[in-house]
């Protein structure tokens, strides 16, 4: 039994302009202690999938129209809200991108950390406060005891994100979802925060879903990767294999667009065009208007997730050519 198994998930948003099909049949699994990196351009449905797992989707306008989310063997989507609430924060936790807006501006960080213990474990004010200080020390916030009464805006960006991490770790959950945890940070502190997260994950053997569009980060910490495009997973693979030989033109496009030291000064190969509107996803392969390999069949037939190897899948009709062409 996997820690988390998302099966054929569909999510749509009813907006004034029409129905945005944000997630269209996503499946992935995360084992205990494993790190899954979810990759893809902005708007590809990474966050929405994660929010569906956490049970914090905006409903309405959002709606889960199909699929299952199995967490430790239980289908979350069929649980009553009260039971899901108890899982949230204690068994699975989420780290958001922008810690400044994600922390409550008018409550002290100590209160916000202590709240986890008070609500889920019924600890008293004092004891919860002491645990909050411990947590802050754990994520290496200097002078934690003095700063526990400070407000979020009094911390630097990196320290704030550490507090978010501390909050997620408070009850030692089995699964952590980190939604672009370093995107809002200065480049210099990005690595530190990422290291801290990876270290704590190892220590607690938690499952980690790391949502990012930074391929550089992924190589160091992830075990496997799921690449998303227009609400679908187009490729999944163990990290090393994917970097060595992508089995989907979109993945190859992403890899080619990483700036590399040995190609300094050269033009980057940015994927041409824009992701499709989710209100009107093109028929066939959603990537076909941008794909350099696209052929007639790509405009009519939607590619299934082909089995490339035991641990690899690719949603490209011509995944074999990706390998042959090398």
């Amino acid at each position: 039994m996997s820690l988390l198994e998302v099966r054929d998930l569909f999510v749509e948003f009813r907006t004034r302009d029409g129905v945005a099909r944000a997630v269209n049949g996503v499946s992935y699994t995360v084992e205990a202690g494993e790190t899954l990196a979810v990759l893809g351009e902005s708007g590809s449905g990474k966050s929405v999938t994660a929010q569906a797992v956490m049970g914090i989707l905006d409903m309405p306008p959002g709606r889960i129209t199909g699929g299952e989310i199995l967490f430790q063997g239980r289908d979350l989507l069929s649980l009553p809200e009260e039971e899901r609430r108890r899982i949230r924060g204690s068994k699975m936790a989420m780290i958001f991108q922008d810690a400044l807006s994600s922390l409550n501006p008018v409550l002290t960080v100590g209160f916000q950390l202590a709240e986890m213990f008070r609500v889920h474990q019924g600890l008293g004010r004092k004891e919860a406060r002491a645990r909050a200080v411990e947590l802050m020390e754990r994520v290496r916030i200097p002078a934690a005891r003095q700063r526990v009464g400070d407000f979020p805006h009094q911390f630097s960006g990196g320290m704030r994100q550490r507090i978010m991490i501390a909050m997620a770790l408070a009850l030692e959950p089995d699964l952590i979802i980190a939604d672009e945890p370093t995107t809002a940070l200065d480049v210099t502190v990005q690595a530190q925060v990422m290291e801290l997260l990876a270290e704590l994950q190892r220590e607690f053997t938690m499952g980690l879903i790391l949502i990012t569009h930074d391929l550089g980060v992924v190589a160091d910490v992830a075990d496997k990767i799921a690449v998303m495009y227009a609400g679908r997973i187009v490729e999944t693979a163990p990290v090393k294999e994917l970097y060595q030989a992508p089995a989907h033109p979109y993945t190859k496009g992403l890899l080619d667009s990483i700036p590399r030291l040995d190609q300094k000064g050269q033009q980057l190969n940015v994927i041409r065009g824009m992701p499709p509107s989710l209100l009107d996803i093109p028929p066939g392969c959603a990537y076909n208007p941008r794909c350099p390999m696209a052929r007639a069949v790509c405009r009519t037939d939607e590619p299934p997730l082909y089995e490339v190897s035991a641990q690899r899948r690719s949603a490209c009709h011509f995944w074999r050519e990706m390998f042959d062409g090398r």
Binding site: M54, I56, D58, G89, D98, N104, P105, L107, H120, F151
Partner: protein, 307 residues
């Protein structure tokens, strides 16, 4: 913080002088107060002269103002022309109006915020549209009309309450006048709370609170409401002054002998010391209320620092 308060208090001085001087000039420039004292009869010139001297009315207006202000700061608000000290009128009038205004604020908080939260969380639903319409009606109909109507229906026609408030103005008799006084502000509080709640409900920190596994109630009260009330509290603070002024109308409708009543009497009888005295105190109340709001703001929103 301390330095900020001192600075603010100093800044109040010119505002205080400006407003009180203006009202002083206005009151003393309108007609001759000595003539007004004698009503229809023309005063005997010698007596009039004596009175003018006694009340400093023979001096230039700025000098009168300076003398008056000097007296005020020794606690002497002068006498009404009938000889009764103005401070005596204040001692009976202010407690009544303060009770009335406090009641109005309580209504605004209890009813306004509750309605605002309910509608803010249910935007676009029937209860939201209904309450929104109602607030629009309340805001657009003058207080004089709603007040008189309520007095007629509840007081005269159905006889649920006594239509006029007795001179002592006990709290029970002030309930309806308090509600009438609150009504327009209450509608604003409802709308302000609603907008603020709806806006904050989409904020990232609310999503975090949900992700922490907090109950719906705790997310709403501890996280959403706490943030949404910042602009509402500011409004309530500045409303203290408005309520005092609004009491003028309400007190007349229900014949309450408060500040508004005394002010009205002072105006129609051209009783200058009364008018100037009451307005001066109102100006002070208004200025202090504003300072209090600014300080409260810093308590509610830790991001605000006063230097």
């Amino acid at each position: 913080m301390g330095r900020y308060v001192v600075r603010r208090l100093l800044q109040m001085i010119p505002v205080f002088i400006g407003t009180t001087f203006l009202i002083f000039v206005m009151v003393y420039a309108v007609g001759d107060p000595v003539n007004a004292m004698f009503g229809e009869r023309a005063p005997d010139p010698a007596t009039a002269e004596q009175l003018r001297e006694e009340f400093n009315l023979d001096k230039p207006i700025w000098q009168q103002y300076v003398l008056y202000m000097g007296n005020i700061f020794t606690g002497d608000f002068g006498n009404a022309f009938n000889g009764q000290p103005v401070t005596e009128l204040m001692a009976t009038a202010f407690p009544i109006t303060i009770r009335l205004a406090a009641l109005a604020i309580v209504f605004e908080i209890l009813v306004g915020i509750t309605l605002g939260v309910l509608t803010g969380l249910r935007r676009g639903r029937p209860i939201d549209s209904g309450v929104l319409m109602l607030t629009l009606v309340v805001i657009s109909v003058p207080t004089f009309v709603t007040g008189s109507l309520a007095q007629y229906l509840l007081g005269v026609k159905w006889g649920w309450i006594s239509p006029a408030v007795s001179p002592a103005a006990p709290l029970r008799e002030l309930l309806l006048p308090g509600l009438v006084l609150a009504l327009v502000s209450l509608a604003y509080v409802t709308r302000l709370t609603r907008t603020s709640i709806a806006e904050n409900a989409r904020a990232d920190y609310v999503r975090t609170a949900v992700a922490k596994g907090l109950s719906r109630r705790r997310v709403t009260v501890r996280h959403l409401l706490r943030n949404s009330l910042i602009p509402v509290v500011t409004f309530l603070g500045t409303d203290v002054g408005n309520l005092m002024a609004g009491a003028l109308v309400t007190e007349r409708i229900f014949n309450i002998h408060g500040v508004g009543f005394q002010l009205w009497q002072g105006i129609v009888r051209q009783n200058s010391p009364t008018v100037v005295g009451f307005v001066t105190v109102l100006v002070i109340v208004f200025l202090l209320a504003n300072l209090l709001v600014d300080l409260l703001y810093a308590v509610l929103d830790p991001r605000i620092r006063y230097a």
